[in-house]
Symmetry: C2
Subunit: 333 residues, 2 copies
């Protein structure tokens, strides 16, 4: 156990307290529930609200993306556990500015169940709700079952584009369309080099011996597509790129945004070693890297590893990526 | 070994290649040496240049803070090793806009030796050079030997304030005074929970058994002031705060900026648990937290642990902290 924590049962609440103490000008609790956060100026009248949420342990996901030009609110679960129906509903109520609310979160059973119930309850209060699920993890299902894929780091792209669309005043159908288009054009695959240690038990979430890696691993340690001896950074980048470029049917002349994401314990230096290969390989394919993000965008506590996400751009998505945004963990001026 | 690398001997060069491929609009090599980086618009005529540098393995230190409103250039050593005299000199030459150059880096013997020689050589070319050393690590020397302290994460504050002073057009004496004042008013202490693994050897840099912690540890694993059983986040925060608040003679009515910095493998969640206690304790003391930074600002590869830095503010330093800045790893709009 190498964790800087107090009572493990209070881990999530204390972390949220820290975020609110640190960033009171950016986020606030709309009510008494410490597991619901919204942007400090919510609700924004006349603009679509965007609510995300899911289990804790993935910072900056999910609560780090609440702010101007990104999500409007978040429902916060325990580590790797879904938020409650009531929390999802409270977030929707608190961000509704009269133009409806988009639920935008990763495709996990518990989250879907609770957000769907909250959507029904919100509709009873005349809050119009649409749902778009992040489902970018190529390793979780084959292409023909794309709708069943899990959501991982690539949801960052959808936060950014849908958030910008909401900010410029698009209606709910428009914001949902942007989010859906972004998800459809995003593919991610990860590699894990060590397990996550759960704060409550102090035990690893799965076994992965030193010197081994698992390609395609999920952000909760869900099984990947290949386990074996740790390979070189370039070989790892190539394996992942082969999968995601095929999935997106990338061809010469296409433009992409790249996200090289650290899962927690992997140094930023190693992410840049990966980025180097990704950039070079894409250039060799004639694919132009228009924007790139390198760092920790969606983690799994202290798991060592990384993921690579590509978003196949069109003109509008690129413009939305560049729109201003400001949250505790992401800024685009 | 849990590293995503290729040839360990090429680790630093490949990482730098990745940074330049990712951020060509922000940084560039001024010449042929891949270990020298400067901001993309260097030299900026009529402005003081700021050069930093040191060993690799600390990203975002040092190369992550090259950009507008921060450092102008960086000389890049191997992992935990000093850059060469020639690299320090080339960085100075490349950023000199006719108003002189400030060398601003951490107080380590090899770095001081090489930067001092480079300063002499630069003076021969009529480039005026001043030097300010980061020396914020309270654990490394007692208060009466403050000048001999090591530099750690708190140098971020000096980059920010001195960089803003240079950007607004202060002369070399003025920029150096701002940097020196910031360093004088900054105190840091860290805690390590696991060793760093060196890429070239695959071996830990020091031994620290699971379940133990070392308070006051340096960012290369230099010995701290207390080793013992891992304590709670609040107890760790209290130990560090007791030391840094005493060092800065903080009293009711003082204003500070806080940096809660992750050393590499510690999840952002845990940094916010620490921040929660820091904020509460400072508020109880009647000290006002004017600005706060929580995340990885100066790491030690994959070391688990964190550091807490305080900067005792005055009106000008606060204004300089808020000035615009943009580098690959830090943005203030």
């Amino acid at each position: 156990m190498k964790k800087i924590i107090n009572d493990p049962e209070r881990f999530v609440d204390e972390m949220v307290e820290g975020i609110v103490l640190a960033h009171p000008h950016l986020v606030k609790h709309p009510g008494q529930d410490p597991r619901v956060l919204v942007r400090a100026d919510a609700p924004v009248a006349g603009k679509v609200g965007i609510v995300t949420g899911g289990g804790s342990g993935h910072l900056p996901l999910f609560k780090g993306y609440v702010g101007q030009g990104l999500c409007s609110g978040v429902a916060i679960g325990n580590v790797f556990s879904s938020p409650s129906v009531q929390q999802c509903l409270e977030a929707a109520q608190a961000v509704d500015g009269g133009k409806g609310v988009l639920f935008l979160y990763g495709n996990y059973g518990g989250d879907v169940f609770n957000f769907d119930l909250a959507a029904e309850m919100a509709e009873l209060e005349d809050i119009e709700v649409r749902t778009v699920l992040g489902r970018d993890d190529v390793a979780s299902q084959p292409k023909e079952r794309k709708a069943d894929r899990r959501g991982v780091a690539g949801i960052f792209f959808a936060y950014k584009t849908a958030g910008a669309a909401a900010e410029r005043g698009d209606d709910l159908a428009g914001v949902a369309e942007v989010a859906e288009r972004t998800v459809e054009r995003t593919a991610t695959m990860g590699v894990g080099l060590s397990p996550t240690i759960l704060p409550t038990t102090g035990a690893p979430s799965f076994e992965l011996p030193d010197g081994q890696m698992e390609i395609g691993i999920g952000i909760h340690g869900e099984p990947g597509i290949h386990r074996g001896e740790l390979r070189s950074a370039d070989e790892i980048a190539d394996s992942i790129l082969d999968a995601v470029t095929a999935d997106l049917d990338l061809a010469e002349g296409d433009r992409v945004a790249v996200l090289v994401n650290g899962l927690g314990a992997t140094p930023l230096e190693e992410l840049y070693v990966l980025y180097r290969r990704v950039h070079t390989r894409l250039s060799d394919l004639g694919v132009s890297v228009e924007r790139r993000y390198v760092g920790e965008y969606a983690t799994s506590l202290e798991m060592a590893g990384a993921s690579i996400s590509l978003l196949k751009l069109d003109d509008e998505l690129l413009e939305l990526l560049d729109a201003p945004a400001r949250s505790p963990f992401f800024q685009e001026a």
